[in-house]
Subunit: 332 residues, 2 copies
């Protein structure tokens, strides 16, 4: 049986869950895939986090160079979060000849060209299923559709926090403020909710999806972005009377001339569309291919457990498929 | 650029669409994947079909042996339909060292063990995305979920014809007989609609999904099967009053002891579930993983154009991933 050496960069919530999943799911994955995933190295500077993760102290390093010289390493999982040093580290890992799996939508969306180019030049895989839709394997289907369809329209509910808030406002009739407080109480929203409610998180994810679609780097700054903090109970009631709901929709549309219209904004979605029925903290994307027609993929996906699970799938996919798994980027 | 030699077995509606898609999509696929797909051989005994497909007559063979000796062949697309000789031909192609891509749910569901075992022994891929959900890439996500989740529950709307009929009965208030006639008029239902309306087609698809889930061969005969011909307007009205709809649901549930409950039957689906909103001739499957939670994949998928498109994706995937793409079967 083939052994696959794995390193994790960052022992935050996701990183710790990946370390744990590697141990817990080792046998299931070996049975299903023939691959034995072994944790070889961890990059983490916080001694407290390292202790809490309850790992062999010998595998913990406080600098990237030590990780990169580890014997038997094949795949690096980047779950540091934020733009830097995560983006630089991913490029360094790829340059050093390792496949990279990331959940980091901010770093990837802002440095898509550098990272994908580094992967392709090094003939290594860059896998990022966990960066969009959390634990729901959306991108694997999306990539398959892109390979054989011209995709001209994409709509997504890609932020679980805002979808929870809007769903609460619609079903329980609560105000935005109360629904946000409830989301914070349940741990769906952070103490500073700006990244979610103002649409930054959704814009990072849309930038990744749109980069894959268009074959050029779509930077999150190119996306016209409106959050949900201005959505009122009156708006929600109005939508209900018109036979629909308000959703925070991430949208990319490619016109005949190749120009891309990009937005993240609250939109009216009529009840006869599947996206209107994606409730609570669920995510969904709808992709329209010229051959396959509209395809919707939906799931909950948030949280460390599903995210770690999809990261493990990406490790398997990176080893199986290698550089061929990467987005064809830039197109042409 | 890597050249990939393709053969097609059968020039029916799907086979002709695959031949055409290979020509039309050649450049897009080359750009996106780096693979040049070239049609090398076609098996078709009907001279009329062969002529209608407007292909180079030199590549058309009337026996399988001629196809198998073709130079530069890598992948065989089996779209003959029906159980035999399709199942035998797939095994022969795999034994001869070619990847096989099929859309044939009947042959695959009845001979899953033989076909998957032949593929694994020959270290070749058996790809069958087109056998479930038509052109919608459901299986690629499903396989990914199965690789890292224990899946205990699966529900699907996997037959577009019956979903169209039930949707018409609900939205237009028509009787079963009128809705069936309308489906036949639109080409959604065949002149003899038995395979669809009595649930045989759904049972073939469920058998494939359940075989992948359980790691043993689930034969369609094991599935408790009730069609929709007994569904009345009164049933539909009753469901509406209870806050839901009637759908033909293909269901697999794995209990703690490993026993599998399998059924295809009309079921009440409440409106707060996404499956209740999968209308017209759309398909959907809902998979519940212990880590990822419930995931729904939906799309239209029927028809030669989307089906041919997903067959082309499968060809690409077969070449990229090879035997590693196959279901881990039997488990253990």
């Amino acid at each position: 049986m083939q052994r696959v050496g794995v390193a994790i960069l960052g022992l935050g919530t996701i990183g710790s869950a990946v370390a744990q999943a590697l141990a817990v799911q080792h046998d299931l994955i070996a049975e299903r895939t023939g691959l034995q995933l072994v944790l070889r190295a961890v990059f983490e500077r916080s001694a407290e986090r390292a202790t809490r993760a309850d790992l062999d102290p010998d595998i913990i390093a406080t600098d990237l160079a030590t990780v990169l010289t580890e014997d038997g390493l094949d795949v690096v999982v980047e779950v540091l979060g934020r733009e830097q040093p995560a983006a630089d580290y991913m490029v360094r890992c790829l340059d050093a000849g390792f496949h990279v799996v990331t959940a980091n939508k901010e770093a990837l969306s802002k440095h898509f060209t550098e990272i994908v180019t580094a992967a392709t030049n090094a003939e290594r895989a860059i896998m990022f299923e966990a960066s969009v839709g959390g634990g729901v394997p959306l991108l694997v289907s999306y990539r398959q559709i892109l390979a054989t369809n011209r995709v001209t329209r994409l709509r997504g509910i890609v932020n679980g926090t805002t979808n929870y808030i809007l769903s609460q406002m619609a079903s329980a009739g609560t105000s935005y403020t109360d629904a946000l407080a409830e989301a914070q109480r349940l741990g769906y929203a952070e103490p500073d909710p700006t990244g979610d409610v103002e649409g930054f998180d959704a814009a990072y994810k849309l930038a990744i999806l749109a980069s894959m679609l268009s074959g050029r780097h779509v930077h999150p700054d190119e996306i016209q972005r409106t959050g949900i903090s201005g959505v009122t109970s009156q708006d929600i009631d109005g939508a209900r009377h018109r036979g629909g709901v308000i959703k925070l929709i991430a949208r990319a549309e490619l016109d005949d001339g190749g120009a891309l219209a990009l937005s993240v904004a609250p939109e009216f979605v009529p009840n006869d569309e599947l996206l209107a029925h994606v409730h609570a903290n669920y995510n969904a994307i709808e992709v329209v291919g010229d051959r396959v027609g509209p395809v919707v993929l939906s799931g909950q996906g948030a949280g460390p457990l599903p995210t770690a699970s999809v990261i493990l799938s990406d490790i398997v996919e990176a080893v199986r498929t290698g550089v061929a798994a990467n987005p064809a980027f830039p197109h042409g």
